[in-house]
């Protein structure tokens, strides 16, 4: 077990203590996470890597407030998120967290800019104003010219950038991505990581990425390795044996 303390003196972006998660599989209960203590620092691009089934998705879901841990506490920027009421937790996510899903889950019948504007619209911003902000974000991602197109008129890479724009448009303090580069070629994958660092990482913000894409391991500030629900490595590089 490795308790990873924050390297800076400031408040950690994420702080987990004793996080376990069990899943029921028929009669049996399987423990997927075994009491994870972890501090994720602001201003860093953190990778969570590990073999398939090691619990990466489970861990990241718990850290971003969409999956309840069986046990343990999770603080995101100082808020004990699982002690919030359901509605407060939903609103906390809306204000503070950006999501990039592997299947981008864009809404097919609204154009790219409107898709990217969804978090702002959900926050209650006027639709056209939200759309303008989304176009500005698409511009940062170099696809402002695609703003009026429907998702199915975009290439896979363009769709992903729309999804990234949606994750960043409301300037959340924490961005989480599960396997963002799995479907991309090496060059596009690196480009996406650059974009995420450029737009998502700042002094008071951080990005957590679940991946097993070894082509991009060199781009991380910090790499955490998960093995069978335990963190077995924590450093700026991958361990030798991987």
């Amino acid at each position: 077990m490795s308790a990873t303390e924050a390297t800076t003196g400031s408040q950690p972006a994420i702080r987990t203590r004793g996080v376990t998660r069990d899943f029921k599989a028929g009669q049996q209960t399987i423990r997927v996470l075994h009491g994870i203590d972890l501090d994720v620092c602001p201003g860093e691009l953190t990778y969570l890597v590990g073999e398939s089934g090691s619990g990466k998705t489970t861990m990241i879901s718990i850290m971003c407030g969409i999956l309840w841990p069986t046990d343990g506490d999770v603080e995101v920027f100082g808020t004990d998120i699982y002690s919030l009421s359901d509605t407060d937790l939903v609103n906390f996510r809306l204000q503070n967290i950006g999501f990039i899903f592997q299947q981008y889950n864009l809404i097919p019948s609204i154009d790219a800019a409107s898709n990217a504007a969804v978090p702002l619209i959900a926050q209650g911003m006027d639709r056209l104003e939200a759309r303008d902000r989304a176009v500005a974000m698409l511009d940062k991602l170099n696809i402002a010219d695609q703003a009026d197109k429907l998702p199915n008129q975009l290439s896979g890479g363009q769709q992903q950038r729309v999804a990234i724009a949606r994750a960043l448009v409301h300037e959340p303090r924490l961005v989480v991505c599960d396997e963002p580069t799995a479907a991309l070629d090496a060059k596009s994958g690196r480009r996406v990581m650059d974009l995420l660092r450029e737009v998502g990482v700042a002094e008071d913000r951080s990005v957590i990425i679940v991946t097993h894409d070894n082509r991009i391991f060199d781009l991380a500030d910090r790499i955490l390795v998960l093995e069978d629900g335990r963190i077995t490595h924590d450093g700026t590089d991958m361990p030798e044996d991987h």
Partner: protein, 377 residues
């Protein structure tokens, strides 16, 4: 978010139209069938409505409707005239007869004998000719639906008929509400009718009564019953009995009831399936919205807006369809005088709301049960 909900719905053209079709079809079926049902039922009262001037109908105690009547004794007329509060009382004869047309066809018709002097018993309006024609020998007035049936595509005026082997000449066309069976109706003077109707048993079917000023029909009818021992009903009561007779003696309520129920079930099935498919197709998007930070309440609103929109447009189309149907068939004698009672759109609206709520609720449960964590799978 509601804008997004609507775009999600209308963006999926196939399902959107499928949903609209389901609701519209269901609404059309329910509205149209109920309309025909009610209008047909009301025809059970057509015999009463056609004689608008009679306040009270007096009949034998066993008589039930204008067409199901037992003969009165000939003394009845004078008895009724003797009741205080009766302004006027006239004889009214209703009988069946066979008519042989010029081409030799045989057709069953209803003969209505109206008071010789006052012509009370005739429908209020004439379409062709005037009521005066009845003073000419052998004159009959035919009802308009009967005219189109017996003399399709030609004017019936001047046509000769053999009515129970007696000569009759059509000299006018009355604007009448057709009977439930759409039987051809021939109006003639009471004295003339007696000649057309053979035998001596049925000489008087009803006594039609006008109430004197200051006495209401209900009071008068009770007084007549008490004093004569005959059955007396106000126009409204008698009309209702005519409707009731059809309800009791035909399979109509059951048949229409089944069709309306089928319309409802088909609606639930089409809308339920399509809506569930629509939600299932969009479940990932809904899941993403939930993860991003849209509350279940907001999601429920989105689904409600989607369902509500489909419901309102589909309902509008369905009612328009019914109106279109009635307009298209306005000149068909079968649908003469058909109208949509205001209660019927309300009923189909309620049915539509029920369909929407039921199917929307089922679909919504799917969304509610989606864990936001599912988006990472």
């Amino acid at each position: 978010m509601l804008w997004i909900a609507i775009r999600m719905l209308t963006g999926d053209k196939q399902k959107f139209y499928g949903l609209l079709f389901g609701i519209a079809f269901s609404t059309l079926l329910i509205t149209q069938q109920l309309t025909i049902f009610v209008n047909l039922l009301e025809r059970g009262a057509s015999g009463t409505y056609n004689v608008s001037s009679a306040d009270v109908w007096v009949m034998d105690p066993v008589s039930r409707t204008t067409d199901v009547a037992y003969a009165l004794p000939s003394t009845a007329l004078d008895q009724v005239r003797g009741v205080p509060g009766v302004d006027w009382a006239v004889p009214h004869l209703r009988a069946q007869a066979s008519v042989r047309t010029k081409d030799g066809d045989l057709e069953g018709v209803a003969i209505i004998g109206v008071d010789d002097a006052t012509l009370i018993g005739l429908p209020k309006n004439m379409i062709d000719g005037s009521t005066e024609v009845l003073s000419q020998p052998d004159s009959v007035i035919i009802d308009d639906v009967g005219a189109t049936r017996m003399f399709p595509g030609q004017s019936p005026i001047g046509e000769r008929l053999e009515l129970n082997d007696q000569r009759a000449v059509v000299r006018g066309v009355a604007d009448a509400i057709p009977s439930f069976t759409s039987t051809v109706v021939l109006y003639t003077k009471y004295s003339q009718a007696l000649r057309y109707v053979p035998g001596t048993r049925n000489r008087l079917s009803f006594v039609l009564v006008g109430a004197a000023d200051g006495i209401d029909a209900k009071t008068l009818s009770e007084r007549i019953e008490k004093q004569t021992g005959l059955k007396a009903q106000t126009r409204d009561e008698f009309a209702r009995d005519g409707v009731q007779f059809i309800i009791e003696n035909t399979g109509i309520p059951l048949n229409f009831g089944i069709t309306v129920l089928l319309g409802f079930i088909v609606g639930v099935a089409i809308v339920g399936l399509t809506f569930s498919l629509f939600i299932r197709d969009n479940i990932k998007q809904f899941g993403a919205l939930k993860a991003i930070g849209v509350t279940n309440g907001k999601i429920a609103q989105m689904v409600a807006v989607q369902a509500g929109m489909v419901g309102m447009i589909g309902y509008g189309l369905g009612v328009l369809g019914t109106v279109g149907f009635l307009t298209a068939f306005a000149n068909d004698p079968t649908f003469k005088g058909f109208y949509i009672p205001w209660q019927i759109p309300l009923i189909s609206f309620a049915a539509m709301v029920l369909i929407i709520v039921l199917t929307g609720w089922i679909a919504l449960r799917g969304v509610m049960n989606t864990e936001p964590a599912a988006v990472f799978r």
